[in-house]
């Protein structure tokens, strides 16, 4: 589904990713872990199309399409969705506006008409309830005055409504207490499907107790230094990252 080959990315003149390779197939959940500054967030930002990242070498292919040639909104409509570590507050734009506009944009790209209002209402209420959110959230401005946990839930709510093919979640666990983490993890787990992939970017193993990944990658100094299964995450939790760095250097 997603193939990243020899990806080199420069931010403000310094190289952050230095030849990253990653293949994600449909139905899989991947976790990218690594120490701070290894380039974890850069990867998801580049895939989502954030400005300020210069790809100097390599490629990103999603379902046979060159991602780097696609507009930001095209990527989202094609099913590539990023959940942000720090969701932006959008004063005055009601959540419901964002959800409806985004869903209709996606449907339009798929050649479908606008979603009928009753169907939209039904869908939205169901998803809001599954995230244990109150419907009053829909009338509130996107992330404005939300607590850290509410912002993260809101990111997952958008995923549940938009049903991406590849959901990328950047540090979705940061700032969450254990109850909120469970709600978020349940939301993410409900997205698991044969035809969908999930990419988790996280610093801590804790999240992976709730969302068990198929593959775990350790990102060190701009490259995948080690890959393994869920067991690798537990090893990182007990041993830290230093040994991977040493192993790589050796």
């Amino acid at each position: 589904m997603l193939e990243v080959k020899d990806l080199h990315v420069t931010v403000e003149g310094s190289e952050i990713l230095k030849g990253l390779d990653l293949t994600i197939n449909a139905g899989e959940v991947h976790a990218i872990m690594g120490p701070n500054g290894a380039g974890k967030s850069t990867l998801s930002a580049v895939i989502a199309g954030k400005e300020g990242y210069e790809v100097t070498q390599g490629s990103i292919t999603y379902e046979g399409q060159d991602v780097l040639e696609m507009e930001v909104e095209e990527r989202a409509r094609a099913g590539l969705l990023l959940g942000f570590q720090y969701p932006v507050e959008i004063p005055g734009v009601k959540n419901i506006y964002l959800l409806k506009a985004a869903l209709n944009a996606q449907r339009e790209a798929q050649g479908l008409g606008e979603i009928p209002a009753p169907e939209f209402m039904k869908l939205i209420k169901e998803k809001v309830a599954s995230m244990k959110m109150d419907t009053s959230f829909l009338q509130r401005a996107v992330n404005e005055g939300f607590s850290g946990g509410e912002k993260k839930r809101n990111e997952i709510l958008q995923m549940l409504v938009l049903q991406p093919k590849l959901a990328m979640l950047d540090e979705i666990d940061s700032g969450l207490d254990i109850d909120a983490m469970k709600v978020v993890a349940d939301g993410v787990n409900s997205l698991r499907a044969e035809d969908r992939a999930i990419l988790l970017v996280t610093h801590y193993q804790r999240l992976l107790d709730y969302i068990v990944p198929d593959r775990v990658h350790v990102l060190v100094d701009g490259r995948i230094a080690k890959s393994g299964d869920a067991e690798l995450a537990r090893e990182l939790e007990s041993r830290g990252y230093d040994w991977v760095q040493e192993e790589t250097a050796a």
């Binding site: 989202a76 942000f84 959008i90 005055g92 734009v93 506006y97 964002l98």
Partner: protein, 456 residues
């Protein structure tokens, strides 16, 4: 004779013709009215129309009014179907004027609570002209501006609202001004007088709207007297046709503990100038000025506000937002004046403008004059474009850039609309703003969805 003089003379001639007609039909007027008319006419003749050399009119060119040849309407005929379409769908007490002429058929004046009087000015004068003569013109005299002088010379119709102590009018009061498309452009000089006694409460919605092809001139003067503890929420919803010309002054006097909240919502009209002034004369008096203007095409919207803190412990709070597209021109001139010895007052003022086009223009001028030393005041104005980070965040959800910009523009207006207590007005204005955005934004459906959800 210069053009400027001939412009003034044309208006005075119209006044003379009209006065002759009235004298023939109704006999002589009470002397005080005749004297005020004369004073108004004399003042207008001496001043002439303002030009851009006058500081208060620096950004607004009124030659479109001065050069016009406007007739005074003689009837209030208006298609009931059109009126029904234009009117606000709010259960209310309603006074309707068509090009300034009172329209009884489109008015609902029954079931007012005891202690409330709401009548057209002509009837108030008939019933007891001396009771009107006292307050009328006390706040807005002929000196205020050439337009106020002109209004005084022509004044004949309008609305009088009087509330006895403690009277609470539950339903909103709508003063509806319909502008009619006709063979010749019409002018009207309505006069509104609101006197609210102690602890009385009301919501007044002044609604300017009309037939699309209309091109009339409205010159409104409004005086509001709030006695101790009186509370008035005053909407001015400007949805006049795009060729309409509109000049108005609203002058408010506030006694102790009174509260005046204004929503100046400007969507329509080709040229709209509003002066909003409050005199905070007693401790605890509070004024809230909320404003939203959306200009497109070549619309010109000029807002002048003034809060005079004449007593200690008085409060004013102002928030005006402007959105300007195409070649529209907006003006915000807000002034807060704190008199000597008016200690412990709070005066806040904020104005933010959004320019959607390179050729749109805003002149923003916040002013503070403080002659007391223990005060809390702030003012600020910003003009800019949309937050690019927010645009990006919306695009990452698949929303195209134009729609993202539309949503953010709607959100910008939303900050004022959140303060609007009447849902019917907030939704109408939000829908109008959504509809004014370029069609590709197609946001009206979104607004309707949100409204439907909130009603459940």
């Amino acid at each position: 004779m210069s053009d400027v003089q001939s412009d003034v003379q044309r208006f005075l001639e119209r006044l003379g013709e009209h006065a002759a007609g009235r004298a023939e039909a109704q006999g002589p007027e009470p002397t005080w009215i005749a004297a005020r008319r004369q004073a108004g006419a004399a003042r207008f003749e001496a001043l002439g129309f303002p030009t851009r050399r006058d500081e208060a009119w620096k950004y607004t060119d009124v030659r479109g009014i001065a050069r016009g040849d406007f007739q005074l309407a003689t009837n209030a005929d208006f298609s009931p179907a059109t009126a029904a379409r234009l009117t606000l769908p709010i259960e209310a007490h309603r006074l309707t004027f068509v090009d300034g002429v009172f329209a009884p058929a489109l008015s609902t004046l029954d079931d007012l609570p005891a202690g409330a009087q709401l009548v057209p000015l002509s009837r108030a004068l008939e019933e007891n002209h001396e009771a009107v003569g006292g307050p009328l013109g006390r706040l807005t005299g002929v000196e205020f501006s050439p337009f106020a002088a002109l209004n005084t010379a022509f004044m004949e119709e309008g609305a009088v609202l009087r509330l006895a102590p403690g009277t609470v009018v539950e339903k909103p009061i709508i003063l509806q001004f319909l502008s009619r498309a006709g063979e010749a452009p019409a002018m009207s000089h309505p006069r509104i007088l609101i006197e609210m006694a102690g602890r009385s409460q009301a919501t007044v919605i002044e609604h300017h709207v009309g037939e699309e092809q209309a091109a009339n001139f409205t010159n409104l003067v409004e005086e509001v007297i709030l006695d101790r503890g009186a509370i008035l929420t005053h909407y001015k919803l400007q949805e006049a046709p795009l060729a309409d010309l509109h000049v108005s002054s609203i002058h408010v006097e506030q006694a102790r503990d009174s509260r005046y909240t204004s929503f100046n919502l400007n969507l329509g009209g080709g040229l709209v100038r509003t002066d909003l002034i409050t005199e905070l004369n007693g401790e605890g008096a509070e004024a809230n000025f909320n404003g939203l203007f959306y200009g497109q095409g070549r619309q010109h919207v000029d807002n002048h506000t003034l809060a005079n803190h004449n007593a200690p412990l008085t409060f004013s709070n102002e928030n005006y937002k402007g959105i300007l597209d195409d070649r529209a021109h907006g003006v915000f001139n807000g002034k807060v004046v704190v008199k000597r010895d008016s200690q412990k007052i709070e005066g806040f003022q904020s104005n933010a403008n959004l320019l959607l086009s390179d050729r749109a223009e805003i002149d923003a001028k916040p002013e503070l004059e403080i002659y007391a030393d223990d005060v809390k005041c702030s003012h600020g104005t910003t003009t800019g474009q949309l937050d690019e980070e927010a645009v990006f965040a919306l695009r990452t959800r698949g929303i195209d850039e134009q729609t993202a910009r539309g949503l953010l523009t709607l959100a910008f207006a939303g900050e004022v609309l959140e303060q609007v207590g009447l849902d019917a007005i907030a939704e109408r204005v939000e829908l109008a703003v959504a509809g004014k955005l370029p069609e590709r934004f197609n946001l009206a459906g979104l607004v309707e969805t949100a409204a439907a959800l909130s009603e459940e």
